[in-house]
């Protein structure tokens, strides 16, 4: 069923299933080291190339990239290339008040901290204590002093009454975009999981919309390719809240727009959202949509 669904979404489904990822990706932590200095240090040990769409991102080949001095020092963070994109479309400013609703393990949180140069405030929230431990570790290691880690069920985060200029909702998902890393996930794919995740994601986006200030920006992302977890969730929010979709434009990376029609539902706004397909850039699949509160 998964294959048929992909064939319905894109004309090059075969390429989707055949996509392979040779290079791993890392992000320089400019809170601790300059990108140039890191590049110089790593070039001596690994094959490394710059990421065209993000100045602090690098592709790297080598065994055990988590077992060296630079990694120990927190000079870089191992982060999927496509997962560096959501923070980049948030129009982040140094003094922003940001909520990262589902923050663990903290790749995007520490990227945001870095982009804000350790100023402003980031509320890094996660529901799971075990995942919060990883988040805490990564924030400490990154030297991100502008983070407050909280342990709320994000579906009810709006009950705190906090409002933020920028919200990142990198929602829990079925992770079908990770197929490039794990082909076996096709065997484990179940439609009921997609529906279950979609229900959760709708509850999360509802809380996120309630936490936005006027003119505030909400970036919704998942590493799933399922329209139920992406376009349908955005459509759910558009129908219930005073928000609008803003067009995302990224340079030096091949993106496609969102799915315009699925299961008889039309998503006119979908040309403004982006999808990163694994076969286009040899990254994980990702869906990213930017919403602004009116």
């Amino acid at each position: 069923m998964f294959r048929e669904r992909i064939e319905q979404m894109i004309p090059d489904a075969d390429a989707f299933f055949a996509a392979e990822q040779e290079w791993k990706s890392i992000r320089a932590n400019t809170l601790k080291i300059s990108r140039e200095e890191l590049l110089e240090r790593l070039q001596a040990k690994y094959e490394i190339k710059e990421m065209p769409w993000y100045e602090n991102g690098f592709f790297i080949i080598g065994e055990d990239i988590a077992k060296n001095m630079e990694y120990y020092l927190g000079y870089y963070h191992i982060q999927e290339a496509a997962s560096m994109l959501p923070p980049l479309v948030m129009e982040i400013e140094r003094k922003d008040f940001v909520i990262d609703l589902c923050a663990a393990p903290g790749s995007k949180t520490t990227q945001l901290a870095m982009m804000m140069e350790n100023s402003g405030v980031i509320i890094a929230n996660d529901i799971s204590i075990s995942r919060i431990r990883a988040l805490t570790h990564n924030i400490q290691k990154a030297g991100a002093a502008n983070c407050i880690i909280t342990n709320y069920d994000a579906r009810y985060f709006d009950k705190t009454g906090l409002k933020a200029d920028k919200i990142l909702l990198d929602a829990p998902c079925t992770a079908s975009g990770k197929i490039i890393k794990n082909k076996k996930m096709i065997e484990k794919w179940k439609y009921w999981r997609v529906k279950k995740m979609a229900r959760l994601q709708k509850a999360l986006i509802k809380a996120a919309c309630n936490c936005l200030t006027k003119d505030g920006i909400l970036v919704y992302s998942t590493c799933s390719v399922e329209p139920e977890e992406n376009e349908e969730v955005i459509d759910y929010a558009l129908q219930r809240f005073d928000i609008e979709v803003e067009k995302i434009e990224l340079k030096e990376i091949k993106t496609r727009h969102g799915i315009k029609e699925w299961n008889g539902k039309k998503f006119e706004w979908a040309t403004k959202a982006i999808r990163i397909w694994p076969q286009d850039n040899n990254t994980e699949g990702f869906f990213i949509c930017r919403l602004r509160k009116c």
Partner: protein, 159 residues
């Protein structure tokens, strides 16, 4: 996270004075909010964090980063990140180790120093390897006692 005390400007200056006495440099902790939790642990956070937010945020797990622990003898045991902040300017209680020793240090072993800079025996020292500040240790008679926390050690490391 139970905050015991948010430090006033005067108290921050006292911490800065302890750092200056121990590591021979002035560190601008006034650029951060500085607070303490149990066991005299010192934490630093962005100045933009208004602590009034915790009237609303009850389920707060952690704020900012761990800087170090104030000991009874007026010494500070710095965290790796604390050492990175202080170590850039430190002129006292600094030790340099070679690359092979640095790998052992990251693995959690005690190591031998190549060079000491105004380092006192049985005192906390900032451990450097070239330009990199790699952590904190205690200078013993003929070795540096390793203080890298277990969670940060990399047991199998590429040289």
């Amino acid at each position: 996270m139970q905050i015991k005390k948010v430090l006033s400007s005067k108290e921050i200056r006292e911490i800065e004075a302890i750092i200056e006495k121990n590591y021979g440099c002035k560190v601008g902790l006034h650029n951060y909010r500085v607070f303490m939790t149990g066991e005299e642990k010192i934490w630093i956070a962005s100045k933009d964090i208004d602590f009034g937010i915790f009237d609303v945020l009850k389920r707060c797990y952690r704020i900012g980063i761990y800087f170090g622990k104030l000991k009874r003898n007026r010494k500070i045991k710095l965290s790796i990140e604390g050492a990175m902040i202080v170590g850039r300017k430190a002129t006292k209680n600094v030790v340099f180790i070679g690359e092979k020793e640095a790998i052992k240090f990251i693995q959690g072993y005690d190591v031998r120093a190549d060079k000491l800079i105004n380092a006192e025996k049985n005192n906390f020292v900032i451990v450097k390897c070239g330009n990199a500040i790699i952590g904190t240790g205690i200078l013993r008679d003929d070795y540096i006692e390793n203080l890298v926390p277990k969670a940060r050690r990399i047991v199998k490391i590429d040289s």
